[in-house]
């Protein structure tokens, strides 16, 4: 069973590489950020798996929870930052702009 966990961990790790490709080529900044966010979610699972392999799940579960939490706060902060970079667009006047142009 331990081997199964190790292989799953390696496979999840390998799945991060395609997403790293998206981080490198991603046409806009926000594409890259989405990809980083996805890698963060995978890391949460990976941490629990590592805990299973080492037999110390009760410790690694705390790490995983903290990591998920910081990942969430990070993505919210990035979203806020993007709003601040473009402060004059929002739900109401995006329609107006479309009609003008």
């Amino acid at each position: 069973m331990e081997k199964f966990f190790i292989f799953t961990g390696i496979a999840i790790f390998a799945l991060m590489f395609p997403i790293v490709w998206r981080i490198i080529v991603g046409p806009t900044a926000i594409d890259r950020i989405v990809a980083v966010n996805v890698i963060g979610t995978k890391t949460t699972v990976l941490l629990v798996l590592i805990g299973m392999i080492y037999g110390r799940v009760e410790m690694f579960v705390d790490f995983a929870l903290t990591y998920a939490l910081l990942n969430f706060i990070g993505s919210l902060a990035v979203a806020r930052y993007f709003d601040r970079v473009n402060p004059n667009k929002n739900f109401a006047n995006s329609e107006a702009k479309e009609q003008e142009s």
């Binding site: 069973m1 799945l15 989405v34 990809a35 966010n37 996805v38 473009n86 995006s94 142009s101």
Partner: protein, 113 residues
């Protein structure tokens, strides 16, 4: 033996969804559709894999193991709870930044209806 089997099945299905999410992130044409793959593929696969691990944890039944399984369940709930919100926040940021909407006929149509 039964918990181990359930664990293997759940982890494998979850991993399949992870592959789907990764393929979507690479292959989908524009930001919004990639967001679909990122937000959804992750939620369900995390749920399945963590549930599988929690089941395996319950194989030798004791109070400590029940609590650890509860904690894993808590992580799952947290991710299911936070993921829609962060997906929404990111897609809203992208929308307000003016990301182009991809449609099959017209490659470069402006965002909007």
């Amino acid at each position: 033996m039964i918990p181990a089997t359930i664990c293997v099945v759940l982890v494998c299905i979850g991993f399949l969804f992870f592959i789907g999410g990764a393929a979507g992130i690479i292959r989908f044409p524009d930001f919004y559709t990639r967001m679909h793959a990122a937000g959804k593929g992750d939620t369900m696969s995390v749920f399945l894999i963590l549930m599988g691990l929690a089941t395996y944890q319950l194989a030798d039944f004791s109070l400590a193991n029940i609590l650890v399984a509860g904690k894993i369940l808590f992580i799952t709930i947290f991710i299911m709870w936070a993921s829609p919100t962060s997906t929404h926040a990111l897609i809203k940021a992208g929308f307000e930044e003016g990301q182009k909407l991809w449609t099959p006929d017209v490659e470069k149509e402006d965002s909007g209806e």
